[in-house]
C-alpha cells in the first residue's frame, strides 16, 4: 500500500486564545467558531419555543400577548433556519471537508471568516428588534407580502429582521462557495470525485443548492425592504404570488440544505458502527443529485391552496422525492445488514434519525397530495410534519455528527452513559412534543395562534406537547452537562476511537494546524482506512 505526502502549508506560528480564534483562517477554528455560534442561536430559539409551548399548554393567554406570540414564532423559525440549521450544516463542512479530502486548508478561508462575522452580525441584527419600541418582527419566518408591508407590520424590528436575513443568506452563499471550491480544487492525489467520502458528497449537493436557491431569498428580501421603504415593488395579488414564488424557491430547498449534511453524518456513523463500508455508494451519489434537483422543483407545493401554481406538476415532483429517499434508506439498511453493529451513542442517534425522518417523510407524501393538503394546510399537522423532518432529520443528525466527531475535534471523549440519557430523553421528548400535533392539525387547530377554545381535546393534546417540550429542554441540559464533563475530565480519545473509515481518522485528535503531519494513506476508494483494515485482515 503506497502512501502520498501530506499537503504542506507554511504558516505563521498559531496565535493562541480567544482573540486569535476570532480571526483565525484555520478551517478548524473557523468551523468550530461558526458551529458554536449556530449552536448558541439554537439554544436561544429553543427558549422561544419553550415560551410558546408553555403559553399553549392551557387555553387562554397566560404568559404572552398576541403580538408577543407573533414575535416569538417569527424569531423562533427565523433563528432556526437562518442562524442555526444552515450555518451549522455549513460549519460541519468547513471543519470536516478539508480533513476528509486530505487537504491542508479551506479554499478562500478569508471569505469564510468574513462570512462567520456576517452571520454573527446578521443574527444580532435580527434579534435587535426585541429592543425596539414596537418589538421584533412579527411576520413569520417567510414574511409573506402584503402582511410584511408597512401598513400591516410597521415595526422597525421587521426592517432589522430583513437586514439580518440578508446578511445570513449572503454569509451562507459565501460559506457554500468556500466548501465547494475546496472540494473542487484541494483534493489529495487519488481522491477523485467518486472517491469522495459520503459526507463530502452530501456537502457537494447542499452547497449546490445554497448557490442556486439562496440568491432568490436575497432578491425577495431586498425587494421587500425596498417595498417597505418606497413601495411600488409588489402590488396586488400578482405581487403576493411573485413574492411567494421567490421565497419558496429558496424556502423548500433550504430544508434539504439543512438535511443532507446530517444525512451524510448519519451515513458515516452507520458505516463506522456497522463495521462495513457504505452500501451502494454510486447509486447513493446519483440519488443525492436527483434528490437535490427534485427538491429545487417542489416549491409550488407550499402554494397549492393559492390556485396560482400548477398543482399536478408540484404534486408529481414532491411525491417523486420518495424515490431517492427510498434509495438512501435502502442503502442505510443494507449497510447494517449482517454488520457488526455497535450501539454507541452516535449510532443510537443515527437510528433515531432513520425512524423519525421516516415519519416526517411519509407525512410529507400526504401533504404532497393537493386534496389532503387542502384539509391540513396552515394547521398543526404541517407543524408536526416539518418538525419530524427538521428535528427528526437535522437535529438528530446533528447530534449524530457531534457524538461521532467530538473526539476528533476536541481530542476528548464524551460520556456514553450521559449520551444514552441524552438520546432517550430526546426521542421521548421529541415524539411527545410533536406527535400530538398531527391529531391537533387533523382536527383543525390552526398554526400561529396563541389561544384556543377550552373544553376540547385540544387542551389535553397541547398539554402533552408542552410536557414533551420540557423533556426536550432537559435532554439539551444533559448534553450540555456531558460537554462540560468532557472538557473538565479531558479523557484522551486518541486519533481513531471508533474505527473510522475516512481520512480525518488518520491524523491526531485534535488535528494539527496543517491537518496531516505524516504521510496520507493511499486513497483507492471512498473509505481509505477501511481499505487498510481489510487489507490487514486479508494478509493476517
Amino acid at each position: 500500500m503506497t502512501a502520498v505526502d501530506a499537503p504542506r502549508t507554511r504558516v505563521a506560528p498559531p496565535r493562541r486564545g480567544l482573540v486569535g480564534t476570532l480571526a483565525s483562517t484555520d478551517h478548524k477554528a473557523l468551523g468550530a467558531g461558526l458551529f458554536a455560534t449556530a449552536f448558541a442561536f439554537f439554544l436561544a430559539a429553543g427558549v422561544l419555543a419553550l415560551l410558546m409551548r408553555f403559553e399553549l399548554a392551557r387555553p387562554h393567554l397566560q404568559l404572552l400577548t398576541l403580538h408577543g406570540y407573533d414575535e416569538l414564532f417569527t424569531l423562533h423559525g427565523s433563528t432556526m433556519f437562518y442562524l442555526f440549521a444552515t450555518p451549522i450544516a455549513l460549519a460541519a463542512g468547513v471543519y470536516l471537508v478539508p480533513l476528509q479530502i486530505g487537504a491542508a486548508r479551506l479554499r478562500w478561508a478569508r471569505l469564510a471568516l468574513a462570512a462567520w462575522w456576517m452571520t454573527i452580525g446578521g443574527g444580532l441584527t435580527m434579534w435587535l428588534g426585541f429592543l425596539t419600541e414596537q418589538g421584533a418582527a412579527d411576520v413569520g419566518w417567510y414574511a409573506y407580502w402584503p402582511l410584511s408591508d408597512m401598513p400591516s407590520s410597521p415595526s422597525v424590528g421587521t426592517d432589522y429582521w430583513i437586514v439580518g436575513v440578508l446578511l445570513a443568506a449572503a454569509a451562507a452563499i459565501a460559506l457554500a462557495a468556500c466548501v465547494l471550491a475546496t472540494i473542487v480544487t484541494e483534493r489529495a492525489p487519488g481522491m477523485t470525485m467518486l472517491r469522495l467520502p459520503v459526507f463530502c458528497w452530501t456537502m457537494v449537493v447542499s452547497c449546490l443548492m445554497v448557490l442556486t436557491a439562496f440568491p432568490a431569498l436575497i432578491v425577495a428580501m431586498g425587494l421587500l425592504l425596498a417595498q417597505r421603504q418606497w413601495g411600488g415593488v409588489y402590488s396586488g395579488s400578482a405581487g403576493a404570488f411573485d413574492y411567494q414564488h421567490l421565497f419558496w424557491f429558496f424556502g423548500h430547498p433550504v430544508v434539504y440544505v439543512v438535511f443532507f449534511p446530517f444525512l451524510g453524518a448519519v451515513a458515516e456513523a452507520i458505516a463506522t458502527f456497522s463495521g462495513r463500508r457504505w452500501f451502494g455508494y454510486k447509486p447513493f451519489v446519483v440519488s443525492l443529485l436527483l434528490f437535490a434537483a427534485l427538491s429545487m422543483s417542489v416549491w409550488g407545493h407550499h402554494m397549492f391552496t393559492t390556485s396560482a401554481v400548477e398543482n399536478r406538476y408540484f404534486s408529481l415532483t414532491s411525491t417523486a422525492l420518495l424515490v431517492p429517499a427510498g434509495v438512501e434508506y435502502f442503502d442505510a439498511l443494507a449497510t447494517m445488514w449482517r454488520g457488526r453493529i455497535r450501539l454507541a451513542t452516535p449510532m443510537l442517534f443515527a437510528l433515531g434519525f432513520l425512524v423519525l425522518f421516516a415519519i416526517g417523510g411519509t407525512t410529507g407524501i400526504w401533504v404532497a397530495s393537493p386534496p389532503l393538503d387542502y384539509h391540513v394546510t396552515d394547521s398543526y399537522f404541517v407543524v408536526a410534519h416539518f418538525h419530524y423532518t427538521l428535528f427528526g432529520g437535522s437535529v438528530m443528525g446533528l447530534f449524530t455528527a457531534i457524538y461521532l466527531w467530538w473526539p476528533k475535534v476536541t481530542g476528548t471523549l464524551l460520556s456514553e452513559r450521559l449520551g444514552r440519557w441524552h438520546f432517550w430523553l430526546t426521542m421521548i421528548g421529541m415524539n411527545l412534543t410533536f406527535f400530538p400535533l398531527f391529531f391537533l392539525g387533523w382536527d383543525g387547530m390552526p398554526r400561529r395562534v396563541a389561544d384556543y377554545a377550552p373544553g376540547t381535546s385540544w387542551s389535553t393534546l397541547n398539554a402533552l406537547s408542552s410536557a414533551g417540550s420540557a423533556l426536550l429542554a432537559a435532554s439539551v441540559l444533559v448534553f450540555l452537562w456531558n460537554v462540560r464533563r468532557s472538557w473538565r475530565r479531558r479523557a484522551p480519545a486518541g486519533p481513531d476511537p471508533w474505527g473510522g473509515q475516512t481520512l480525518e481518522w488518520a491524523t491526531d485528535s485534535p488535528p494539527p494546524r496543517e491537518n496531516f503531519t505524516g504521510a496520507l494513506p493511499a486513497v483507492r476508494s471512498f473509505a481509505p482506512l477501511q481499505d487498510l483494515r481489510e487489507a490487514a485482515e486479508a494478509s493476517a
Binding site: T9, A23, G121, T185, D242, L289, A292, A293, V309
Partner: protein, 122 residues
C-alpha cells in the same frame, strides 16, 4: 464523473433543466419565475462547472506545493463587520453606511497587503 468535478455540476444542471422542461412542455406552466429560476440555476451551475474544470487543472499543479497562509486575518473580520454596518445603515441612518463603507475600504487595503505578502512568500 470520477476525476472531474465539472461532471457532477453538469449532471445537476441537466436534472434541473429536465424538470424545468417538464414543467414547461407537459404542464404548460408559463409563470415567468417557474421557468426563469431553474434556467438561472442551470446557467449558474454550468458556469461553475466550467470554472471548476479550469480551476481543478490549475490547482492540480499547485495544491501540494508549499503555501503561505496567514494564521489570522483581521482585515477579513473587518470586511465582514463593515458589511453588517453598511446594511444596518440602510435602516439606522446614512452615517452608519459611511462608517461601514470606510471600514470596508480599510479592510480591502489590509486584504490587499496580505495577498501581496502571500505572493512574495511563495
Amino acid at each position: 464523473m470520477s476525476g472531474r468535478p465539472g461532471v457532477a455540476f453538469l449532471v445537476w444542471a441537466a436534472l434541473l433543466g429536465l424538470l424545468a422542461a417538464v414543467l414547461w412542455a407537459v404542464f404548460a406552466e408559463l409563470d415567468r419565475l417557474s421557468v426563469l429560476m431553474p434556467a438561472f440555476a442551470v446557467a449558474l451551475t454550468a458556469a461553475l462547472a466550467l470554472g471548476g474544470w479550469r480551476a481543478a487543472r490549475r490547482a492540480a499543479a499547485r495544491a501540494f506545493a508549499p503555501q503561505a497562509d496567514p494564521d489570522t486575518s483581521w482585515p477579513a473580520v473587518l470586511a465582514g463587520i463593515s458589511l453588517v454596518l453598511v446594511l444596518l445603515g440602510l435602516e439606522v441612518g446614512t452615517f452608519l453606511i459611511f462608517i461601514g463603507g470606510g471600514l470596508f475600504v480599510a479592510a480591502a487595503g489590509g486584504l490587499a497587503r496580505e495577498w501581496r505578502a502571500e505572493r512574495r512568500a511563495r
